[in-house]
């Protein structure tokens, strides 16, 4: 496309591409915008070096290779700040520049948004289901090695307390948290020694290295014996025990009673093992202090991609749109306003032609959602994760009560699309 457009000159037409999702994943009631910060940070690195150009030399003509050699995105981007809720049709990103400038960003922008948004959206449901109890992301091993770092960041954006991914701490400041694995206990078994002695040796080694404020994994052999060994080794000041298998609700109650009986009333209970938002909600009444969540959060809990698309909506200032079949896109550069009652509860999302905001009914408050993110290729917004975490918190508070239901349903609020004033 780039080669052909450079050849006939259309590559230099001014365009706007928009990123949006035609629908939320099956039965979800809201989504959380994720990836904005990562995309903006990736822009200066998204260039074509010698290795890349060599690999393309056989398939591209000289003009196209020269264009790529100089490529650096210098256009403008508007969109939803990271952590904002979104709904079907919400223009979460709006990229402005020449066709050549913008078309090259498609895969980068969509890959980042489809991944990070899928994880943040699933993670937010877990945070909401946990009702204030902390969650740790522990799923690195269940997804691609680099996706894992981004997944950890997206889960933290959505309200997780931290992650076991150390690279996510180094790269994105996500607090690193973790416990030990069964392998560590098994490692300490020796020939002719009982399982109990091996387990105690493992606990002793961990406490000596990390202090009593650590988390001991108590379900390698027998949980009741494991808890007894943990307190015997660490004393009643032990930080926490982790249970990774079995009927977690029943076990949490038993372990809580056992810990209290041993005087370890301050020792916390961490549960993990195939938890998703539904399992987390089901444990609300149990004495659980912290959830460790793996597979389900890094795979988007059934929705591993946000199904966002990158569509050309404007050429040289005029709206364009595809007409075939049911896959309709809406032409023209757009912005969004979110309407709320005075209580803060949102009631409608309005997507309108850019620069032409709708009139807001007197009894409602209209908040513009679209903000400038990039001007002339440079970031112009606060892209920090702390600001994003605040937005998710506020967003969850702003949903009507049935928007927080975990069951399948319609989007929490309707989206109204106001058509552009003229089309082609």
């Amino acid at each position: 496309m780039l080669a052909a457009a450079l050849r006939d000159g259309t590559a230099h037409r001014q365009t706007t591409f928009e990123v949006f999702a035609r629908r939320l994943p099956d039965g979800r009631r809201y989504g959380v915008t994720g990836g904005t910060g990562r995309l903006v940070e990736a822009l200066p690195e998204f260039t074509f070096g010698g290795d890349e150009l060599d690999a393309l030399a056989d398939v591209l003509d000289d003009d196209t290779l020269a264009y790529l050699a100089d490529y650096r995105f210098t256009g403008d981007i508007d969109g939803y700040p990271e952590g904002e809720l979104y709904f079907p049709g919400s223009p979460v990103l709006s990229v402005h520049g020449t066709f050549a400038q913008c078309v090259l960003l498609e895969t980068l922008a969509l890959s980042i948004f489809n991944h990070d948004t899928a994880i943040a959206s699933a993670a937010a449901r877990m945070v909401s289901a946990a009702e204030g109890r902390p969650l740790i992301e522990m799923g690195s091993r269940r997804t691609h090695e680099y996706a894992a770092v981004a997944a950890s960041r997206a889960a933290y954006l959505a309200g997780f307390t931290g992650s076991s991914n150390l690279e996510a701490e180094r790269r994105h400041g996500v607090p690193a948290l973790g416990t030990s694995a069964h392998a560590f206990t098994l490692l300490h078994s020796s020939e002719g020694q009982s399982a109990a002695d091996g387990e105690k040796a493992a606990f002793r080694a961990q406490v000596e290295a990390l202090g009593v404020d650590t988390t001991l994994l108590v379900d390698t052999y027998d949980i009741t014996a494991g808890v007894a060994h943990a307190i015997e080794v660490a004393g009643p000041g032990l930080g926490a025990v982790r249970i990774d298998s079995g009927d977690l609700g029943v076990l949490a109650r038993q372990v809580r009673a056992q810990l209290d009986g041993l005087g370890a009333t301050g020792t916390k209970i961490v549960v993990s093992g195939d938890l998703d938002e539904f399992a987390i909600a089901a444990l609300r009444a149990e004495p659980v202090d912290l959830y460790g969540v793996g597979t389900s959060v890094v795979t988007g809990s059934g929705a591993p991609t946000a199904s966002m698309v990158y569509k050309l909506v404007e050429v040289d200032g005029l709206p364009v749109e595809k007409r075939s079949s049911h896959k309709e896109s809406h032409g023209g550069r757009k912005q969004a306003v979110r309407l709320a009652k005075e209580s803060g509860t949102i009631v409608e999302e309005i997507v309108h032609p850019a620069g032409h905001p709708p009139e807001i009914p007197q009894d409602l408050i209209g908040r513009p959602v679209t903000v400038p993110l990039v001007r002339d290729g440079r970031p112009v917004a606060d892209l920090g994760l702390d600001a994003g975490r605040d937005r998710v918190r506020q967003g969850l508070r702003s949903l009507p009560w049935d928007g927080l239901k975990l069951s399948k349903g319609d989007p929490a609020v309707p989206t109204r699309m106001i058509a552009p004033r003229r089309g082609r």
Copy 2:
């Protein structure tokens, strides 16, 4: 774990960790091992540099930091060569070395295997459903930007013809293939000009840049008009047309008749748009020449992770295993033999203690599946994708007929686990 094990000396015990899946994804009948080549290639790069050590300086003691600074995997690895079928319990990877050496590889090994195996397993079902028709992987934009490159490689391993991901060609030699997007047609619309003129201008630009052997996307406005414009511009020697929306079977038949009527009998039909293995199978009777597959293949078609685990099975030559609850692991270092009839159809997978192969019944052929992959940290096997593609082809041919069914069912063959001679 590393810090505590270095402190008490257990870090230097000789261990074996195994990678296996307790079950196949819901109702799948076989899996395809993916990621072996990527893991072995990643080993020399998996080190801890200055930036990483600085980031860990606050949480780790000096001995642990020194260990990490010198870290490089120098142990041995056995396992299933890439492209081999696997079943529940198959020991697809067996990592041998000190505890410290091996425990650090856990997340790397599992991330690569869980991702690549999930994609290869889904892709193989699509290849099988396509019954010899070629498939292109086009899903980069629906998954994390680096996962996309690995997904493209895994789809090619499983038998896809190529991918639209250029980086996968550069890095892994996956043939790059692709078409244009609706944006390219929309770009060529101008004020006061008809949609037909814009579409023809776009087709002309593409044919001028890439020749008549290109693939024109005909469904931006009206498909029948699009096909007419495509042949008008490119002539009856046009390479292919692509249909990306609508009822693909019906449209393929209509477009085939239209192309034939225009004398373009050699022009191929490419279909795309939310295809998965079921949609591909449903199009078997239609005049489709090539499938473009996106979201479903890069997300594992409902199973985005292979749920593989990395478990300690041997310490200082003795089997170890976890005993709590239902999450059983089987101790001891293992290998596998696959039994087949003389016809080549497989009948059973036998997982046995390493070095103690079972007796093979006279009427069956037993093929050892486990091979040496790494010795002293260096690759010792053919890790090329061509060999892997051959293995997938042979594997699919070796399945009993109901193993190829797309419907949910049991694993195609049973797995027999032979217990180690002694445990702890």
